[in-house]
Symmetry: C2
DNA sequence: TATTGTATACGAAACACTTCGTATATAGAT
DNA sequence: ATCTATATACGAAGTGTTTCGTATACAATA
């Protein structure tokens, strides 16, 4: 049940890094966090959050070496879908089409992406012939 | 600049009610909150949050009567777009098409809605002929 | 073996949101 | 004028997240 998982903002940032870079040490994650933008986060802060994430079972930890290596235990797509679900209900009262309209209307999407989405819609329309 | 506004979960629920029902008293909002689902929120809790929202300029207040009447000072679409923006960056690293794929893939959308979205895509494609 | 650098563990402070108890004001009925 | 019901105001406790200082462990090296 990945539905109940609610990573916080900080946790999500760490997950993004682990999803992108694969298994990493605290130091690597911390440096990646500080690479981003203008932020400056202390090493022990990152460590603490990752420890909490480990307790919450968001991360796996290999502690066979002195320097532990952490891995995201949850899948990117799963978390995204769960978060999307919450967001859709909280902000759009469940109206997926309204969200889609805002999404496509407000953000520059490349022609390729538009085509991809349209292809998906076509597929959905075929599978569900009312 | 409605971009900086970050209503909390509780604030958003109150905004939803005010958007739907229009100007309302604290009691009306509180009752609407308690109608929803299985929640049970005290009157003073609702009052406190609405007072804070007033301080944050999320709400307008007519206190010419003993019973104050509150109105959402922010537009539904504006808040939704701002929240969507944040969410898109936090959870999808800005990939609107990936979000769209999840959205359409995971949620039952009616044929009408799909058609509506497709029409929007067509329009976008015409306006931006690469 | 003693020193140094770097790792994790622990605990507490800072902050924000939510919740509600209690105080106070006021309108309306007696 | 007093009483009652209901309104807002205020303050503080409970909870969760983020932040980091400090303690402790340990490996490598001098």
């Amino acid at each position: 049940m990945t539905n109940n998982i609610q990573p916080t903002q900080g946790e999500l940032e760490i997950l993004q890094i682990l999803w992108k870079k694969g298994p990493s040490t605290v130091r690597e994650v911390n440096e990646a966090l500080n690479d981003d933008q203008d932020k400056s986060i202390g090493y022990t802060t990152t460590l603490k959050i990752m420890q909490i994430m480990f307790e919450k079972a968001l991360l796996e930890r290999n502690d066979s070496q002195r320097t532990h290596v952490f891995t995201a235990k949850v899948r990117e797509g799963n978390i995204q879908s769960a978060l999307l679900d919450r967001f859709l209900n909280a902000a759009y009262k469940g109206s997926a089409s309204k969200l889609a309209m805002h999404l496509l209307g407000n953000h520059k999407t490349t022609p390729d992406e538009l085509a991809e989405i349209k292809a998906l819609i076509d597929k959905l329309e075929k599978n569900k012939p009312s």
